[in-house]
Amino acid sequence: MRNALRMALTLLIIGAICGGLLSVVNGITAPIIKDRADQQFLQALEGFFPDVAKFEVQDINGEEFYSCYDAAGKFMGVVGKVKAKGYGGDIAYDLAVNDTGDIIGMRIGAHNETPGIGDVINKDPFLQKIIGLKFTDPISAGVDVDTTSGATVSTGGMISSIRRVMNVIGENFLGMEVEKAEIDLTKVADGTYTGKARGFKSDITVQVVVSGGKITQIEIVSHDDTPGISDNAIKGMIPKIIEAQSLEVDMVSGATLTSQGIVNAVFEALK
């Protein structure tokens, strides 16, 4: 009994000392690590807007946006410190947009994408595709930006995240009108509608039945995408859209382009 007590006590003491020591070291190093991350971000900020003289931080839905001004106080653009969903978890990145809504720079921060596969998002060719895109561009996978095959999840995730961030920036900082891919079903009269949008290989045509202000049925009239892969998208997307009564649903991974095509086609049908 005394022995057991002694053992437990010894472990407890060692554990307490270790824990205490670690919290002290953490107290010393954590601010340094944070400072450096801030410093790197500031450097990136200056890289995007060399003339930046001051900036303001604004928090929108948990993400930070920095509006940049030059020495004369003229608004130059916005840098968003944002996150995208990738294959291996969140991808943190900075997106710089100038005052006319063009993407002028992007910096990928921490990410866990598989080396050699998902990390194409950090390579020049992918960055080249992104930089120069305008707010008015669709910025949609397969439409004006191609996903990289073999890394569809990572690149597709980046592209849809960039579109989302562009909308946030456009709406909040540039006073742009954001065209919502969302449909006000109450304004759609009952009936059957047909719409067409580009899938993976060519157009996907859908027929949508609306009754009582609800989407009750979606049917794929024709498509040309790879059987097997696209079947998953069709099987997955249609119930999702009908259940959510919305087009803001997750894509079927592995068949992102077909999924996106279906969403776009339904949107075209109902708009």
Partner: protein, 192 residues
């Protein structure tokens, strides 16, 4: 996220032993016979799945809410050591057959870096509980496959005449290198 992709990457394209260099010690130590390799593999699958679940709970419900993320290494290794001990005791009492099959491998597992490695990788990747379990099992299966293939080769290798300087670990490492080269081919499949 696609569970199938997680499984494929964990077992083949990014095999824990041959591409990520985790668990090399048991890989070289236990891969002399196919039966022992299988035994070790089963024990790893079992413990990996359990520790994946427990470390996930510890991280998400204990460390993160209280801002103690910096204690994760210490917490995980203690959880794993405790878990291995627990599994050993329970198996001994309830299932002597399984204990006899896995028993001798269990103490070795505490210092198998794949277990701690996977716990840390799960947290790093922000996997949810389902992904954690799937990933843990897939990694362990990948480990077992690598181990069994290696054991098959080594059983043959013992009959070959190898220079005395290269016998044992040296030639095993070169063999592992060639195996790793073969597994690299699976990375190409990702671009389909």
């Amino acid at each position: 996220m696609n569970l199938l992709a997680i499984v494929f990457v964990a077992i083949l394209a990014n095999n824990i032993v041959l591409n990520q260099f985790l668990g090399i010690c048991p890989y070289l130590g236990v891969s002399k016979r196919i039966e022992t390799s299988l035994g070790m593999g089963m024990a790893v699958i079992f413990v990996m799945a359990m520790s994946g679940i427990v470390t996930w709970i510890v991280y998400n419900y204990l460390l993160e809410p209280f801002g103690l993320v910096y204690l994760r290494t210490i917490a995980f290794i203690l959880v794993i050591a405790g878990l291995v001990q627990l599994v050993e005791t329970i198996l001994k009492k309830t299932n002597p057959t399984l204990f006899r099959a896995l028993g001798i491998y269990l103490p070795l597992i505490t210092t198998n870096c794949t277990i701690l490695g996977v716990a840390l990788l799960n947290v790093q990747a922000g996997h949810n509980i389902i992904q954690t379990i799937v990933y843990a099992i897939a990694v362990a299966v990948g480990f077992t496959i690598a181990l069994v293939i290696m054991a098959g080769i080594r059983e043959r290798l013992e009959l070959a005449s190898v220079s005395s300087f290269l016998r044992g670990a040296a030639v095993s490492l070169v063999t592992a290198g060639i195996l790793s080269l073969a597994f690299m081919g699976f990375k190409g499949m990702m671009t389909l």
